[in-house]
Every structure is written in C-alpha cells, then in structure tokens.
C-alpha cells in the first residue's frame, strides 16, 4: 500500500483506494503528562476544518455522519423546546448543532443562528495541558488533538481544562470522548465525516492556510451582503484553532450559543498545572529533605533514664503510694 498524502484543498476528491496512514505516533508534538516528548523529525502541514456558520442550514447531516462513522449510540431524548438534539454534547455525540433565535438589535431582524459545536482542536489545547495520564491526549504536528482512549483514566481533568466545554466522560467506559477531527479518516487522505456529509459545503476541510484563504473569500462575500462585521473565528488566546468558524457577527461570538469571545486556558488551570505543581513538589520535597536532615544531623528527642525515674516518682507521689 502507498501512503496517503496530506489534504491540500477542501474540495479535492478523496482517494478511493486503500492507503497507508500518512501520519502517526512519530508526528506527535504534544503528549499529555509527558515531560520529555521528543520533537518530531518532520513538520506536517497544518490542517483545519472551516465551518461557515453563514452557510449552515442546521440539517444535522454532520451529526448523523459523526454518529455513523464513530459508531456511537446517543440516547434518544425528548423534545425540550428547541431543535437542538441531543440536548448537549455527550460521550456518544461529539458534535451538536446549537440553535439560537436572535433578534439583531441593530436591524430588528430575526436571525436564526446555527452553530456546529464540537472540539476546536486548539493549537494550545487546555485538555492536553490538564490531562494527568501520559499519552491520553496527543497533538499531531498537523494540529489534530486526539484522545487516545486506552491511556485515558477518566478523571475528567480535560473537562476542566477545556475553554470550550467540549470533552465528555462516559459513565459506561469511564473514558473521555470528543471530536477527533476524524484523525483516522484524515490519516488516509479522507476529510472528516461531517465535512463529507455537509450538503452546503458549510464544513470544509484542508490545510489551515487554504481554509483561511477560503474564509477570506467568504467574508468578502458576506460583507457584500451587508454583514460588515463578518469575520473568521480563529482565537489567538488558544494559539489559534484547527476548527475555525466564519461568523456573520465576528464581533459578537457570544450570540452563537455562547461561543467564547476570548477563549484561553483558564488562569486557574494554568496555575494549577504550572506554579502549583512545581511549588507543591518543592514544598513536599523540602519538607521531606528537611526532616530527613534533621533526623540525621539533629539529636533525637530521647527520654532519659532520669525521666523514667522522675515519672515513677511522680506517679507514686500522685497516687499517694510513695514509700
């Protein structure tokens, strides 16, 4: 088998023959809870998924493709007052259309904003930073952040670490799940299942540069339609993302079902995984070394023979049995 080539454009037809994976463990740039992850020998082209929210019709083809490809079995819930089903991301539902009925205060027009939620594949992934299990979360040099389930311990630290509230830990397997950017498909030259299923090319996949260029075209077109604040969502706070949005109102990402305006790894998480870890270990170490040294160098607090006698004396005196 020949190896697949990295995707170069969103619109290229995927190969139909069976191909060898073009990236793998040798391409990791980050590996959770691993101190000495060697830099990979080569640098893969950065990939990205571009979600043009302004083209999305909320058909949920991406959701069903995601369920089918990943062979998940989300629970059938009930109607809860919105087209959004399931009601949230779950360990069995890695992507979700979030619907917002928004009356634009500037135009007084109703806008039905539909955003496909899911892992953003941050360049600086908070989940990976928070993860205590070596190799449970990895990042390839093409930007894909993947959960390696056999290494996952189910602690849920990734949930705290994620600035976008994405990972979900299964109550059944006690393992965390999220969108993998279909790393298994991408590795053999296919785009993500959602992008493949999307009927309106709202979801595209390709190199990050191509996706940014495509986004520029789209934004120019949106501006021609009167969306002056149209823009790309590729937030710097997390070093950019490998899932990007084209938004009509890039100045107000929050209106899209609470997309954070300035996402970053929480300072609390940074402190926990940074200063606390080192100061904590230092404190424990210092305490251990201090006591050991004291034990070795210092004099033990011993009870002397006199003390024993004095005790006997005291006891007899106090008991009134002193002879």
């Amino acid at each position: 088998m020949t190896a697949a080539t990295p995707p170069t454009t969103a619109r290229s037809n995927p190969p139909v023959e069976q191909l060898e994976s073009y990236f793998g463990p040798q391409d990791l740039v980050r590996r959770s809870a691993t101190l000495d992850q060697p830099a990979p020998e080569r640098e893969l082209t950065k990939v990205a998924k571009l979600i043009d929210v302004t083209r999305c019709i909320g058909c949920k083809a991406c959701q069903s493709a995601c369920i089918e490809w990943n062979d998940t079995h989300p629970e059938m819930e009930d109607f809860a007052g919105s087209y959004m089903n399931p009601h949230d991301l779950t360990p069995e539902m890695f992507t979700l259309m979030r619907f917002t009925e928004w009356e634009n205060p500037e135009t007084n027009q109703l806008e039905w904003l539909i955003r496909k939620d899911g892992c953003m594949h941050c360049e600086d992934p908070g989940c990976l930073k928070a993860c205590p299990a070596p190799g449970a979360i990895v990042q390839y040099s093409n930007g894909i952040v993947d959960f390696i389930h056999e290494n996952c311990i189910g602690c849920g630290y990734c949930v705290s670490g994620c600035p976008f509230d994405i990972p979900r830990v299964s109550k059944v397997t006690n393992v965390a799940y999220k969108c993998t950017l279909c790393s298994d498909r991408v590795a053999v030259g296919q785009g993500p299942a959602c992008a493949k299923a999307c009927p309106t090319e709202c979801i595209s996949f390709g190199t990050k540069d191509d996706m940014k260029a495509q986004a520029e075209e789209r934004i120019a077109e949106l501006k021609s339609r009167g969306f002056e604040n149209a823009g790309l969502y590729d937030p710097d706070g997390v070093g950019g993302t490998h899932v990007m949005y084209v938004l009509h109102h890039a100045d107000k990402p929050e209106v899209y079902a609470g997309l954070p305006a300035e996402p970053r790894i929480s300072p609390v998480v940074e402190t926990w995984k940074g200063v606390t870890k080192y100061l904590g270990l230092a404190a424990i170490g210092a305490m251990a070394v201090g006591t050991t040294l004291h034990g070795l160098m210092g004099r033990a607090n011993k009870v002397s023979h006199e003390d024993e006698e004095k005790a006997e004396d005291l006891v007899e005196t106090e008991e009134g049995t002193k002879r």
Binding site: I67, H73, G81, N85, E103, W112, E201, S224
Partner: protein, 814 residues
C-alpha cells in the same frame, strides 16, 4: 422542474416560496449555496414561518398560509405598473397578444360560466378568438382590449401592495423590497429561479399557485433560461418517476390520458386529441399523440394489439368519473363501497387528511394488503396505542396482510429526480428476512390472477390473459428488462418519415428515442417520454461522466434526462427571436445560421428557423400561456381564493368558500369549521431530520429529532399561558392531537384584514410505530378536500384551536 438541480447555480436570484428547500431538500439546496457563493446570487424566502431556508436568506417576508395567489398577482401587477417586463419575450414567446373570446370575463371572484350546483365551470368562453383560417387572432401591438395582456392587466388590478398586505399579512415595505429585487430580473441578462414544493401544491388551488409564479416568470423572461425556470422540488426521490409513469387513475405513462367512458373507441379517443396548431407554422408536438399511444398499447398487449382491434384500446379501463384519486377512494371506502385495498409503498393513515375518516374507512374493508419495507401505521391501524391510536381492535374486522418489500438500497433500477434525471442505482445490500422486490410480488400476483382467469374464465379476461409478459423469468422481471420495455423496441422495420429508404431501426432493436415511435404498430414503448433511457448505446441512466463543458451545469453525460436527455425545458426561449442568446454570458442554445446548437439538447426541431417556429413546441400556439384557456378547471387566470377553512372572508366575494371549482364530499363539507370556534391557522411541514414516516424507524434520525411538537409564536403562547416544551392540545373540527409546544420567535402573528392571526405549525414525521417517540401527524386535523385540478389535499391551511394540556397516554401495546 423545467430546469435541473445543478442549473440552480446559474441563477441571480432564488425565490423560495411554497417550499422550504433547505429543510426538505438539503442536498439539492447546495446549488443555491453555489449560486450565492459563485455568482453572488440573492435568496428570498416567503413563508409563514422563518424557516431553515430563511436562516440563510438575504431577505424574508411572512405570508398567511393559503394567500399566495394574491401575493403573486400583486407581484405581477407591480411588474406591469413599474415596467419590469421582458417585453420582447412577452410579446413573442407568450400568448399576451392573442385575443380572447368576447364572452369571457369575471366578477365577484368567479369567471364566466360558473355552475354553483355542479361546483364547475362551463369553460366554453375561455378560449381565443379563432379566425377563419382556424388560427387564433392576435394583436401584436397589445392594444386590443381583448388581448391576453390587457385582460391580465385588468385581472391583477385589485392586488395592490396594500391589498396584498391586507390579504397575506406581508408588510407592504417587505413586499415592495422583494418586488424591486424580483423586478431586476426582467432584464434579459438577469434571471430568477422559483423553487417550490408542497407549500404550494397542498392547497385547494395548488395548481393555480404554481401558475401564478409561472406567469410571473414568463413576464420576467425567465423560462427556458439557465438559472431560471419553475422548479418543483419533488417530495420523494422517485415521485417524479411516479407521475411520469402515470401512476394515477386518470393517467397513462408519459402523461397520456386514461380514456373515459365517453371514449367509446380508439378513434373517438384520438379525435379529442388532435392538437392542431393554433398559430401558423407551429410544432404542436402533441400531434404525435397517436404514435405514443399506439406504441404504449403495443407494449401492453404485443401481437394482440392490431390496427383492426384499435390496438386493444378496449382493454383499457374507462373512467366513469373524472378521477379515482385517493380522496375519492377513501370516501368510497368510508361509505363501504370498497372491499379490498392494496397499499404499495404508501402510508395513507398518516399521509391523507382527516385520519378519523381514514380509520373508519379502513375498518370497513374486508382485506387490506400493505407492501412496504417498514412497519406502517396503515398496516397497524387496528392496533390500540392509547391516545396515539385510540381504536378498539375487537371491533375491527378488516383482515390485514403485510407483505415486506425491499427498500431502494436493496434494489436495482432508476429513480427520477426533480430535474427529470433518471439515475440508475445498484443494490447496496441484500434484502433482510422475507422481504421481496415489489416486482417479484406483483409478478406473483399477476401470474396467479392470470391462472385463475385461465381456469375459471370471468368477465373480460382478455386484458389479463393477453398481457405481454415477455421476461426471461416470468416470476421476476428484472429492472433491465423493464427499462428496455419502457424505452421501446422496433417491432417491424422503422424507417425515416421523409426518406423511407433510410432504415432507423431493424426489428427487435431498441429505439433510439421517441422520435422513432410510429402509429402503425411497428414500435412499442412503455412510456414515450422515457424513450432513450436504454437504447442500443446501452443504459444511459447509468452514465456517470462529470464533464461539463464551460461549467454550464448541464452535465449531459451524467445519467439521462427526459425528454431526449434535455436538461432545460423550453431552452429555445433562452435565445431571442433571431436565435441569439438573451444573455451572452449565459448562453444555452443558439441558432448558428443553419441549426440550433448549444450546451443542451435544443427544445425545438434543430432546423426550425428562428422567428417562425416558436419555443413552446408542446403548445398548439407555439407560445407559453399567460391565459390558460380551458386547461384548468378553476380559471384561465389564477384568482384569489381562500382556503376552505379560512379565518378571513374572500375579499372578492365573501360568500365564496375555498376553491369554487374544487370537489368536496358532503360529509366533509359539513365538517368545515369557521374561525369563530377555531381562530388559528394550522399548517403542516417537514423537518430536515426526518424523511416522511420512514426515518422514525431509524435510531439515528430519532435521536436527532425524537419527539413530536408544534410551533407557536411567543405572542400566542403568552395569550394561552403556554410555556416552551409544555404539553398542548391542538384540535380542529375533525380531530385532536397532543404535542409539546415549541414557543419560537420564528412565528409571528400576521395582521390580516385588521385581525392578528396566529399560525400553528405542525410538522409531520411522527406516528405510533418506529424508534422515535410516539406522536401524531397533522393529518388528524386536516380537511378532506383537494385541489380542483389534481386533488392534492389541502394540508397547508386549515383552522385549529390550541390549549395547554396533560401528556398523552401511551396505550397497552406500547
């Protein structure tokens, strides 16, 4: 569709009205996205609800369900008033200049000739003035007050923007903004496409809704153009194939008519179908009717069909009423006049109106046979499911036989899409369990019935005994055999009509296309419009060549399109009278000085001289019709008609109810309600997560949209004290349903005739079988009345009431 899905990318303006393409046709909608992205096309949505299509539209306007004709006539009025007319097109390619019979007129919302007791029009005056030469008279200057154009102007005059706002609830400013956007497309180099679906057809005047837009498109010069046209988005992947194959009681394949009892013999039948040209030099292609019909009869009865016996014309059933449509069949069943009903790939208990009546009707059958790949509500109509199907099984004596069939993914064959493309497909899997192909089941029934006739005789056994059944395995005709039979064969030697020495097809060979059909018994073809689908070149439907010279979107080598692989109907009209394209940037076909050439198969004889033979070759006039003569039962112009159940009176004539020419049975008329008891307008629609009543059987679709709900505005919710996701009861004069309420900003009260009207949106898709939660369909509420011309039920506009309630009970069998 006059055009094709892929052609939508060529448009400048898309109007989605009477449909919700993004919701119900998400895959086809990609071409709208293409047009927006590549051409900067704009998208307008006019709909009672702010739909998924509206969510990506450039402009949205609300409209009251069932008021589309007033809106469209208002739009035509505005175009005429503001000179937004493609004049060269209107003058030459429409019947604007033809003079109409002096006796024709209208008043009080009715055209001349109305017979109230028959709910019918005497249409004798709805005709052109015919000159001594047998041709229709014209006034090319359009000055004659009796010319179609002047009559149309007078006809649309009452529909001012103010009147449109009053009738439709569309705010005037929005209507005018849309008018300006549409008006731009009257320029020869600007094109609008109309995408519509059941939002227009499911009305008692559905056909007139569509005519309204077709007339607007003609006035703008958008028919026959790349990126233009009237594009019906068909609701099933093969519903186009169903109509093409004539699966209706009044049709034969290829839009040939089923004879009526007045057609006592073949010649009488044909005499009504002469289709002589109404203007000089015109094609009037239906003049070939005898060729299509004889070839069809030869396909049916082979050697038994001879000239002497009128090609076995007598074997065909003859209609004693206009149509045994489904409404009539169920009404007959309801009256106990039907013993056996075959339901093949059909779930009427959820699809047709007034479910209570349907249940009663089915209960009166002796035998019901269902053929379906899935469990249907119809086959379980006798089962108690609590509130969801509140019947007493012990009281129902109907015997039900369920025959499991294969589904599309397990079959080989072709599906005809909205754009008339016949796309061949191959089985992706083996049938599960006992499931059998429909063809196998039908063959088995036929062979057994024929055997019974052979052994026992019977009244007129010949049509069955003599039926052509020439298949390798009589037990199961293959898709290939059927496709070739439909395409047609030469039975004798077929020669050129002019040069008879030129042999076109030797006996036994497949015909090239329908131009080789003959009325002398030398050819057979099961469906003339499909002729060419599988000829001596092979299976053209299986072609998968994505080449598209100059990116016109024609894709002539991908599958095969009827007629004769033509992708855009009336494409001759994309060029001016001299044969030069109206828009040089958007060339389609053109006259090169000798013949017609271009990107598509020209819709005209290739050597027909421009300026002489007009583009609408199927019409005896050679031009398109702004005035449709007597071809539609409810008027030659679309006129405003209220739904049978309407919250407001018809402004033209308050005594009129619904479509005055639509048939309604007495019992059903008695069940029509008024807004006194049912103040809100109910409307029905699909959701993108589901396909009809199929996908509720699929766990994935059921996860994505698990439970039945109805949509109401925040204002109505407040008025009724209903919270989001509360249980509500919605009822009409025919039934009651329970649903969760979806309180949404996407529905707003409409101001019509001074009243604030609320729309209650009721999606279909739920029933009492399948993986999704049990629910109801809108058909529990809808009235049992259909379109005057085609009997499509009025499911898009009816009256309901709503209140907060308690959850429904599940029933013992749940």
């Amino acid at each position: 569709m006059t055009n094709s899905w892929t052609d939508i990318k060529n448009t400048d303006l898309v109007i989605v009205m009477g449909g919700n393409a993004a919701e119900a046709h998400p895959c086809g909608f990609k071409w709208v996205t293409e047009a927006k992205a590549r051409r900067g096309a704009r998208l307008i949505v006019v709909d009672p609800r702010f739909t998924r299509t509206a969510s990506v539209a450039d402009y949205y306007a609300p409209i009251r369900p069932g008021s589309d004709i007033a809106w469209l006539m208002g739009m035509i009025r505005w175009m005429i008033e503001n000179d937004k007319v493609q004049w060269d097109y209107v003058r030459n390619y429409t019947n604007a200049s033809l003079l109409v019979n002096e006796g024709f007129g209208w008043s009080d919302g009715l055209f001349t000739g109305y017979e109230p007791e028959k709910r019918n029009y005497d249409m004798s005056t709805w005709e052109y003035q015919i000159g001594d030469d047998g041709f229709a008279l014209t006034d090319p200057t359009l000055r004659d007050p009796r010319c179609v154009w002047n009559l149309l102007k007078a006809h649309v005059d009452p529909y001012t923007p103010e009147m449109v706002e009053r009738i439709c609830g569309t705010p005037k400013d929005r209507f005018l903004r849309i008018a300006e956007m549409i008006g731009e497309c009257s320029a020869p180099d600007k094109v609008m496409t109309s995408m519509y679906a059941l939002g227009w057809t499911q009305h008692s005047k559905g056909a007139q809704n569509i005519r309204g837009m077709a007339m607007l498109q003609l006035i703008l010069g958008n028919i026959g153009m790349r990126g233009g046209g009237m594009n019906a988005l068909r609701g099933h992947s093969n519903i186009q194939g169903l109509t093409d194959m004539g699966l209706m009681s009044n049709l034969l394949p290829g839009y040939l008519n089923m004879p009526t009892e007045k057609d006592t013999d073949f010649d009488t039948y044909l005499s009504k179908r002469q289709y002589k040209p109404l203007r000089p030099d015109q094609t009037s292609y239906w003049q070939n009717y005898p060729k299509f019909m004889v070839s069809y009869l030869k396909a049916m009865w082979g050697d038994h069909a001879t000239k002497e016996n009128g090609w076995c014309f007598d074997y065909l059933p003859k209609l004693d009423v206009a149509n045994y449509d489904i409404l009539r069949m169920f009404d007959m069943m309801y009256k106990g006049e039907v013993n056996l009903y075959f339901c093949q790939g059909f779930n009427p208990l959820l699809a047709f109106p007034n479910r209570a009546k349907l249940t009663t009707a089915l209960s009166k059958l002796k035998l019901l046979v269902t053929m379906d790949p899935l469990e249907t509500e119809t086959s379980r109509f006798w089962e108690n499911h609590g509130d969801f199907n509140d019947v007493d099984p012990a009281a129902i004596e109907t015997e039900v036989i369920q025959l499991p069939t294969t589904c599309f993914a397990e079959e080989e064959g072709s599906l005809t899409n909205s754009g008339r493309w016949l796309q061949w497909h191959w089985p992706g899997g083996s049938p599960p369990g006992e499931a059998k192909h429909d063809t196998w089941i039908m063959a088995q029934i036929f062979l057994r019935v024929r055997e019974l006739y052979r052994q026992e005789g019977g009244t007129v056994p010949e049509p069955i005994l003599n039926l052509n059944w020439d298949y390798a395995d009589p037990n199961e005709p293959t898709a290939e055999e059927l496709a070739k039979e439909i395409n047609g064969r030469a039975l004798g030697q077929v020669t050129d009509l002019v040069d008879t020495s030129k042999v076109l097809a030797e006996p036994g060979k497949l015909l090239q296309n329908f131009t080789q059909l003959r009325d002398d018994g030398s050819t057979s073809s099961g469906c003339w419009i499909y002729s060419g689908c599988w000829n001596e070149q092979g299976n053209n439907m299986a072609r998968r060549d994505t080449s598209d010279p100059d990116g016109t979107g024609a894709y002539l080598n991908w599958s095969w399109s009827w007629p004769v692989n033509r992708r855009i109907l009336y494409n001759r009209a994309s060029a001016d009278l001299d044969g030069n394209p109206w828009d040089p940037e958007r060339k389609l076909v053109w006259w090169n000085g000798e013949k017609w050439i271009g990107y598509d198969v020209p819709d005209i004889a290739v050597t027909a001289k421009p300026g002489t033979v007009m583009p609408f070759i199927m019409n005896p006039e050679g031009v398109s019709r702004l005035f449709s003569r007597g071809l539609m039962r409810d008027g030659p112009f679309p006129i405003h008609m209220e739904p049978f159940e309407s919250p407001v009176a018809n402004f033209l004539n308050p005594d009129l109810r619904g479509n005055p020419a639509a048939r309604i049975f007495e019992d059903d008329a008695a069940q029509l309600a008024t807004s006194a008891d049912f103040p809100h307008v109910g409307t029905s629609y699909r959701l993108t997560e589901h396909f009809h009543y199929w996908t509720k059987h699929n766990p994935v679709n059921s996860v994505l949209q698990p439970e039945f709900f109805v949509e109401i505005s925040e204002e109505l919710a407040k008025e009724k004290g209903i919270g989001n996701a509360d249980w509500v009861r919605v009822w009409s004069n025919r039934g009651s349903i329970k649903a969760k309420a979806y309180v949404t900003k996407r529905l707003k009260p409409l101001m019509c005739d001074g009243k604030a009207l609320h729309v209650v949106g009721i999606p279909l898709h739920w029933g009492f079988t399948g993986a999704a939660r049990k629910g109801f369909g809108p058909n529990s509420l809808t009235p049992f009345v259909g379109d005057a011309n085609v009997e499509t039920p009025e499911s898009k506009a009816f009256l309901v009431n709503i209140e907060k309630t308690t959850p429904p009970t599940e029933g013992a069998t749940s």
